[in-house]
């Protein structure tokens, strides 16, 4: 998992091989509320699956069920082909988790945090020391080893959380909003490291509200809403299927946009008006219509992305969980 040591064997995701995570009919009821409603998915070895969904969609509940922090109401969970929660101790020994909320030990130093966590996995002291050394270098924290957590920046804390999650050399890495609240430099550094881990064959489950992050890292996305999986599949394919090829975003007065809407109906496209903005999701090449846009105030033309897919499937209204 770390550059200095021999690489883990990278097993390609062949359809025949046993998935690392396999979930069938998973359901969670809190009283009358169905937080997770009969969802099924599988994550193949070496793949990164991105969980997307508005707040309260059931992502965190789902992850917590995988970890045994929430008891499932129904369904089956198999991780490493072991049944959860029956074999949780064995399963969790092979999982690394980067939680959404900072749970580092504030009184302990960077190095002590890692050594303490290694202790929970009962990793022998000598081996733990070696891994701590590697991880501190991998995440550019070696100059900070004796620093107390309170003195670290947000980016350093996140990197330490990630390092901590890797202390047991996990086969499956669960990342709950791994770059939340970070500046672009810090996010890029984390993405770079995650890409290296992926190349080395680590399976990942990622949740994020940053759709560029999910697009960058995931080979498979699952969009959850109201506890259901709305859609799952390969991100590029889903975008093409549900959104189209490219998007025009046009600003203008209501009258101007009315005229443009009429013109764009000649092209195979879905149109959406939000306030004084017109969105055109083109399913074919609409280049011939670019000339009619000359009259509009301002417009952009860009490839369709995961954010379009997300909005398309879960709507524009705010969710307060």
């Amino acid at each position: 998992m770390i550059p200095q040591i021999p690489q883990q064997e990278s097993i390609p995701a062949t359809p025949g091989s046993q998935p690392v995570v396999s979930v069938t009919g998973l359901t969670k009821r809190f009283g009358n509320r169905l937080a997770v409603d009969n969802i099924s998915f599988a994550i193949q070895r070496g793949q990164c699956a991105g969980f997307l969904g508005p707040n309260g969609a059931g992502k965190t509940t789902c992850i917590n069920m995988l970890l045994g922090l929430v008891e499932k109401s129904a369904g089956e969970i198999r991780i490493f082909d072991l049944e959860a929660p029956l074999f949780h101790r064995e399963i969790k020994a092979r999982i690394g988790v980067v939680p959404q909320a900072d749970s580092l030990d504030p009184d302990l130093s960077v190095e002590e945090n890692l050594l303490t966590y290694a202790g929970y996995f009962r990793i022998p002291r000598r081996i733990a020391r070696g891994r701590v050394e590697e991880l501190l270098h991998f995440f550019a924290l070696h100059n900070r080893r004796d620093e107390i957590i309170e003195h670290l920046s947000g980016g350093q804390r996140r990197r330490l959380l990630l390092a901590r999650a890797l202390i047991n050399e996990p086969e499956l890495l669960i990342l709950d909003e791994p770059t939340i609240g970070l500046d672009p430099q810090a996010r890029h550094l984390i993405w770079e490291r995650l890409a290296i881990l992926q190349e080395q064959g680590t399976t990942m489950l990622l949740t994020s509200h940053y759709l560029d992050e999910v697009a960058r890292l995931s080979q498979q996305v699952l969009i959850l809403d109201h506890g259901h999986i709305v859609v799952q599949g390969e991100p590029r394919q889903l975008i093409t299927d549900f959104v189209g090829l490219e998007v025009f975003e046009v600003d203008g007065t209501a009258a101007e946009l009315d005229v443009l809407e009429a013109s764009f109906r000649q092209c195979n496209a879905t149109l959406e008006r939000v306030g004084d903005k017109l969105y055109v999701y083109a399913r074919e090449d609409c280049s011939r219509l670019v000339k009619v846009l000359g009259n509009a105030g301002s417009w952009v033309r860009r490839p369709a992305n995961l954010e379009d897919l997300f909005i398309q499937l879960t709507g524009r209204s705010l969710r307060e969980s």
């Binding site: 909320a101 749970s103 966590y117």
Partner: protein, 252 residues
């Protein structure tokens, strides 16, 4: 749980404790030593012997027992609640192979250890006050540990039920302070009127105070078995309840 996995949590707490060792020790030893000085030396100088002991000698063993109660109970209320909520330490631990049982045992054994350490230091200081414990005092240490586990478990029960830190005021004002005052540390329970005596004798600290006095002064003629068995039983129940409530709080 898996054998002694819970000791990794004990070790974690020990690591943090070492960073604030001075504050922690003063916090745990300050009160009993001040009481020993003010009541034992200040008030007790002019008092007639009680139960065949000077007043300072009379209260010293009970104050040792109270140090265990305070050390253990405060650790698993304020300390554990901080780990549960603010620091999310429990959440981090449950993402490893450790489970709720390890967590609860780790916290309870840690709280008990802290309490017994306070007691041990007090016992070592007592000769400075002219109280020299008999060698039977060694037998007291396991008793104090069981009592420490009991009060740790009680604290953890409160933590599992708490919505905020203010909740612990009920625990300290309505449970811990009355136990400190009415468990026979400062006056002999046996000489109270029978109905009062019966109530005071079933308080969880009373048998420990009594055992502390017995072992401290080597008075082995007095009955100890029932007191020890009762303490074991109470501790077992409290540990079980703490485990049940902490699981309910952590696993939805």
């Amino acid at each position: 749980m898996n054998g002694f996995s819970f000791l990794t949590i004990w070790r974690r707490n020990g690591r943090v404790w070492k960073k604030h060792i001075l504050a922690a020790l003063i916090g745990n030893l300050g009160q009993p030593l001040l009481f020993l000085l003010a009541l034992g030396y200040g008030l007790g100088r002019d008092m007639a012997p009680m139960d065949g002991l000077t007043y300072l000698q009379f209260i010293a063993p009970g104050l040792v027992a109270s140090a265990v109660m305070y050390g253990a109970a405060l650790e698993t209320t304020y300390g554990s609640y901080t780990r549960l909520t603010v620091q999310k330490t429990y959440e981090a631990i449950l993402m490893t192979p450790l489970g709720v049982v390890d967590l609860v045992l780790g916290e309870i054994v840690w709280g008990a250890s802290k309490g017994v350490l306070s007691a041990l230091i007090m016992l070592l200081i007592l000769p400075l006050f002219g109280v020299v414990p008999s060698s039977w005092v060694v037998a007291l240490l396991p008793v104090l540990f069981i009592s420490g586990m009991f009060f740790s478990a009680c604290g953890l029960i409160m933590t599992a039920l708490a919505k905020n830190y203010d909740f612990f005021n009920y625990f300290t004002s309505l449970i811990i302070t009355p136990l400190f005052l009415f468990s026979g540390i400062f006056f002999p329970v046996q000489t109270m009127a029978p109905p009062v005596r019966r109530v005071l004798e079933v308080l969880p600290l009373t048998p420990i105070v009594s055992l502390a006095r017995i072992f401290c002064y080597g008075r082995l003629g007095e009955p100890v078995l029932l007191k020890i068995l009762g303490s074991f039983l109470a501790t077992g129940c409290a540990v079980w309840l703490a485990g049940y409530l902490v699981r309910r709080r952590l696993i939805q």
